[in-house]
């Protein structure tokens, strides 16, 4: 995500390579034919909807006719006084923290283990990456089965222990941990792959030199590998956060937001409490909140954390 970097790198490059090429009739014809499809699609299906979300958010509107009942910021008021919404905000936060504290370090550890000279590295890489290519919904249904108290893994364990069946997905306190399990299962291979790509870019001579100078494996990791992986780590943090903020597909088959609305994310809240009930104004307001969070994060992160990458 180096929007800023490219923009800054451009002027010099273009100044050198394209000074002689003046805009010709042929050039204009190309612009007129080649550009509009992309601009049109983007405007109609991306830009306008986002702008309209901001507008609809001010109305009490059921989606039929025109939005007429202007209610100012009331939707936002309802939203933040709605315990289910605040809960889903917290849940999104929990996924982010979990990703950063558990998932990424684990992915990094596995990447380092695999990138070493290890028998079967290719196979491990492939196995860990496999869940990433499966759809979130499929992952959700599979894990719904695994955690089922009657039939799945949970059922087998309780039966083996002679305990009464335990339904994690129906446990108000712990059900959300199921979501975290699936996120970990599904996505850690992707982050591992980013780290492996990063590790492959590190010159082994550096590590060997340090080894000859008597640096311990931990010192080598801490002082050489980790700093050199910096750009890749910052990138994977970025994807973790953006991915966590938009999590939806896993929730539906796994918990449907339940039990007692304890496992919603912002997007599942938007879907269950806004869209399916045709509360267009209200759910647009949820979209706007999500938009503001995403854009603030993306901009801030690119400007502050990733500015050197």
């Amino acid at each position: 995500m180096t929007v800023a970097t490219y923009a800054e790198a451009q002027p010099a490059a273009t100044a050198y390579t394209e000074p002689a090429r003046r805009m010709t009739l042929n050039g204009w014809a190309t612009v007129v034919v080649f550009l509009p499809p992309a601009l049109l699609l983007f405007t109609v299906f991306v830009f306008l909807p986002i702008a309209e979300a901001g507008w609809y958010g001010f109305f009490n509107w059921n989606g039929y006719g025109r939005p007429e009942k202007f209610i100012g910021l009331k939707n936002y008021g309802y939203l933040f006084s709605n315990p289910t919404f605040t809960r889903s905000l917290i849940n999104n936060g929990v996924i982010i923290v979990f990703s950063l504290v558990i998932q990424l370090p684990l992915a990094l550890a596995v990447a380092v283990m695999i990138a070493g000279r290890l028998v079967g590295a290719v196979w491990f890489r492939m196995i860990f990456f496999l869940p990433y290519v499966l759809a979130d919904v499929a992952a959700g249904v599979i894990w719904h089965f695994m955690l089922d108290g009657d039939y799945g893994l949970a059922g087998a364990i309780t039966t083996a222990l002679g305990a009464p069946p335990y339904f994690l997905l129906a446990d108000k306190t712990w059900a959300f941990s199921a979501v975290l399990i699936v996120v970990l299962w599904k996505y850690f291979g992707f982050h591992m792959m980013l780290y492996i790509a990063g590790l492959q870019g590190i010159d082994p001579a550096l590590l060997e030199a340090a080894e000859m100078d008597g640096a311990s494996p931990f010192q080598r990791f801490w002082h050489i590998t980790l700093p050199l992986l910096g750009p890749m780590i910052r990138l994977s943090v970025f994807f973790s956060v953006i991915g966590a903020l938009q999590l939806f597909d896993i929730i539906v088959p796994l918990t449907g937001g339940g039990p007692f609305e304890s496992t919603n994310t912002m997007v599942s809240f938007l879907y269950y409490f806004g869209l399916t009930r045709m509360r267009i104004g209200f759910s647009s307001a949820v979209g706007v909140v999500l938009f503001i969070i995403c854009v603030t994060f993306a901009f801030g992160y690119q400007r502050i954390v990733m500015r050197d990458d």
Partner: protein, 287 residues
């Protein structure tokens, strides 16, 4: 299997002894944990319900091929896969056409507002589809595209534009500019240059974008969920949920159905592993 490169590295030795064994053991255990749900799903699809209850994680005592057979011989499975394929192929084709044309202009032509328009499209990198899903639903309804394939394809293309235009444009700019100069000198216009020079030289980046957009479309759920009503148009993700809803009490059938629906993805992945991994990660890294 080892990486060939490892053998010829100067210090060419493997980490010896206990550490290597522990590392290897840990990886084997983790690989088992990762694969276990997939195998459990596939195997349990062969059981009957009562065995599923008493023996959820062993091999089936009696292999109920009929679970799979009934799905494979019904039209429903093929219909959802066909729908997904149709939607994904159109999405990929349209994404490649639209974004490579836009990327070409941004890469080679300087005109008033070009920088601005590029930044405009790159706004799409900053937020996911979900943020705009409600007005998008209203828009699709207004355009009369509800319950149609186009209602899914067009927004999918639109939301992938930011990323694909960026990736493709960067690749186009890497092509030596002497090529374009020479072509211009010989009286070749931009259109022909695009078709006969740029595109043939850009196989790798186009296939990267194709992989990303295919996987995204194939696995898509939210967009079809809000756009489609008719079950006959459902892609497999929606079909799976509908199937689960209908056979809620027959886990063995649901498991067989999941196994069969994720099978194409798994086969594709095993066959084209190198390209898919490279495509999905390179896309993330380069953008």
């Amino acid at each position: 299997m080892t990486d060939g490169a490892d053998a010829i590295r100067p210090s060419g030795r493997r980490p010896g002894g206990l550490a290597a064994i522990v590392t290897f053991g840990a990886l084997v255990v983790m690989a088992g944990l990762v694969l276990f749900p997939v195998f459990a799903t596939a195997l349990n699809g062969f059981k009957d319900l009562s065995e599923l209850r008493t023996n959820p994680f062993g091999l089936p005592r009696v292999w109920m091929w009929s679970n799979y057979w009934s799905i494979l011989t019904g039209y429903r499975y093929w219909q959802v896969l066909g729908n997904s394929l149709l939607i994904a192929l159109f999405t990929v084709a349209l994404t490649l056409i639209v974004s490579s044309m836009a990327a070409f202009t941004f890469a080679h032509l300087r005109f008033f507002g070009d920088r601005f328009l590029l930044s405009y499209i790159q706004l799409g990198l900053l937020f996911p589809v979900a943020t705009a899903i409600v007005p998008l639903f209203i828009k699709i309804r207004g355009l009369g595209l509800l319950d149609s394939y186009w209602g899914i394809i067009l927004p999918q293309v639109a939301f992938s534009l930011a990323m694909s235009v960026l990736l493709i444009r960067n690749a186009f700019k890497q092509l030596p500019s002497e090529l374009l100069d020479a072509a211009m000198m010989d009286g070749c216009g931009y259109f022909r240059y695009f078709i006969y020079v740029t595109l043939p030289l850009s196989g790798p980046i186009l296939s990267t974008v194709a992989v990303i957009s295919f996987v995204g479309s194939w696995n898509g759920y939210l967009l079809p969920l809000i756009v489609l009503n008719s079950e006959s148009r459902y892609p497999w993700t929606l079909g799976l949920m509908a199937y689960q809803g209908q056979y809620m009490t027959s886990w063995q059938l649901v498991l067989a159905f999941i196994t069969l629906t994720i099978l194409p993805a798994i086969i594709m992945f095993l066959m084209a592993q190198r390209y898919i991994v490279a495509g999905l990660t390179a896309g993330a890294i380069k953008a």
